[in-house]
């Protein structure tokens, strides 16, 4: 562990992260949340800033494979962690099956909740490749959407799960 982090009283904190498979070192004011570091220090603005109090799910990212709210995670506590954000989903011009399914089924309208929903859904499908509709709803019950009415989101995730199973790859 970086001993400088044992007691951080300097104006800048410094950590190493693996973001979407790439190792990055980042310096930031120690009060910043993971959300603020992703958006402001690393220019990864795909992750959205919603309620900032843990009441909406817009800022959800995967930390070591688990869906968490980046607005309530101190960046200081992420030293050495692996972070996945929406920017890491597509491979070049090719959409991730989740993104393609959201496009096909109208799973995204205004789009503000979509990055958080996508990452939460990826966290689910990485662990459970064949979830029931009920299980999908339950896993996404921490993501608010004010446009779709949710049915299209559930349809999209179920369809993406099918595609991923057919291709035999992990989400």
């Amino acid at each position: 562990m970086n001993t400088a982090l044992q007691k951080v009283d300097q104006r800048k904190a410094h950590i190493t992260l693996r973001v979407n498979g790439e190792e990055v070192e980042v310096s930031f004011a120690p009060y910043k949340t993971l959300l603020e570091v992703l958006r402001e220090e690393l220019d990864l603005t795909g992750t959205k800033h919603g309620c900032e109090l843990g009441e909406c799910g817009a800022c959800a990212v995967l930390v070591d494979g688990e869906p968490l709210l980046s607005c309530l995670k101190l960046a200081l506590e992420c030293d050495g962690a692996s972070i996945e954000t929406v920017e890491g989903l597509a491979e070049g011009p090719e959409l991730h099956p989740l993104q393609a399914a959201f496009s096909d089924h109208g799973g995204s309208q205004c789009g503000y909740c979509t990055p958080g929903v996508l990452m939460t859904a990826k966290g689910l499908l990485d662990r459970e490749p064949n979830p029931s509709r009920e299980r999908i709803k339950e896993a996404l019950s921490g993501n608010l959407c004010r446009c779709t009415g949710y049915q299209q989101i559930v349809d999209s995730v179920a369809d993406a799960a099918r595609t991923l199973r057919e291709r035999g790859v992990k989400a």
Binding site: K7, D9, Y31, K32, L53, L74, E77, A139, S141
Partner: protein, 340 residues
């Protein structure tokens, strides 16, 4: 946007080291575990510790020990508690309570110890700094008046933990460790009926473990009222645990209400009333009336306050019918929108 204020950050590796740091910081220091309660409060400047002592790297806080009962490390996330087979099989009330806390993401972050130490909540307190300044603040932070009941001498903020009522019904104890030593106390004694001094944990103590007794022959359950099937804090929690004789009469019972007071509320009278009786519909209805007489919901959370009091007997009824062995799955789906 609301940013966190500046703070010093310390990351101890052991409970002993954390306890030393906490003692050295005094009232300026606060522990941070999952952060899901503390960080929103810090963003709104309700809590403003100068130093955060992180429990994220402390060894041993995630231990699960199966002995004569079950000991759960306070640092287990609520998701980890829900995923523990022994909790699901033997302490169902705790399992149901933990599974209904907040949302999946928050359960992935928030800890069992954090849910037990959860700050009390109130519509006049859980607001941003500008909002609170505009009403001259309130008694709980920086002000003098309790806006819920302006004649009140004490703060009426609401105990909003789901796991505490469930664990009190299961007769749990907690272990508190400080630099000066450690103690174990009944979880019910961890709380005061005061929205400000709601917890008897001393500022230099760390809640490290939850100790559940072996409960052969007991059944337990937890029912939660909230507006939505996710996110919301309880507007009423009913935890019940009972041990029954083979003929179906109650040998021992504990019923505890959550979110209708500044502390989880053990219902001694309603619990004693059940002993020696079979849980028929009349007995359950009577226990519900006894429970409602103790519930004092205030108009400082969501939904209509009179209605929240009126539904207490119904929720006590759901809990006792589930204990009796009724199939409550359809009702559970209607109320909580989760299969539990």
């Amino acid at each position: 946007m609301m940013r966190l204020p500046w703070f010093q950050y310390q990351r101890p590796a052991s409970v002993a080291e954390a306890a030393r740091m906490l003692a050295a910081e005094g009232p300026r220091g606060m522990l941070i575990a999952g952060g899901t309660d503390l960080l929103p409060n810090m963003k709104r400047r309700q809590q403003t510790p100068a130093t955060l002592i992180s429990l994220s790297r402390v060894e041993g806080l995630k231990k699960i020990t199966n002995g004569s009962g079950l000991t759960l490390g306070a640092g287990l996330t609520l998701t980890e508690v829900v995923g523990t087979g022994a909790v699901r099989e033997k302490y169902r009330g705790l399992w149901q309570a933990a599974a209904q806390v907040a949302s999946p993401h928050l359960r992935n972050m928030g800890t069992l110890g954090g849910n037990l130490c959860l700050d009390t909540r109130c519509n006049y307190y859980n607001q941003n700094e500008e909002w609170r300044e505009a009403i001259g603040y309130c008694m709980k932070k920086e002000g003098k008046t309790c806006w819920v009941a302006t004649a009140s001498k004490r703060c009426l903020a609401v105990s909003s933990t789901d796991t505490a009522p469930a664990l009190i019904a299961l007769d749990a104890k907690v272990r508190l460790v400080s630099a000066a030593g450690e103690r174990e106390l009944a979880l019910a004694s961890l709380y005061n009926n005061d929205g400000i001094n709601y917890i008897t944990r001393k500022p230099d103590e760390i809640l490290t473990e939850v100790v559940l007794p072996q409960l052969d022959g007991w059944s337990s359950t937890y029912w939660k009222l909230r507006r939505r099937g996710s996110f919301d804090f309880p507007l009423l929690g009913v935890a019940a645990a009972a041990r029954m004789a083979p003929d179906g009469s109650v040998l021992e019972a504990r019923v505890v209400l959550g979110a209708v007071s500044s502390q989880p509320l053990p219902l001694a009278k309603a619990s004693e009333f059940l002993v020696g009786k079979k849980l028929n519909d009349e007995v359950i209805a009577e226990a519900g009336v006894l429970a409602a007489s103790r519930a004092k919901p205030m108009d400082n959370t969501d939904l209509d306050v009179y209605w929240r009091k009126e539904v207490v007997p119904s929720f006590v009824g759901y809990a006792l019918r589930e204990i009796r062995g009724d199939d409550m799955r359809a009702m559970r789906m209607r109320i909580s929108r989760q299969a539990l």
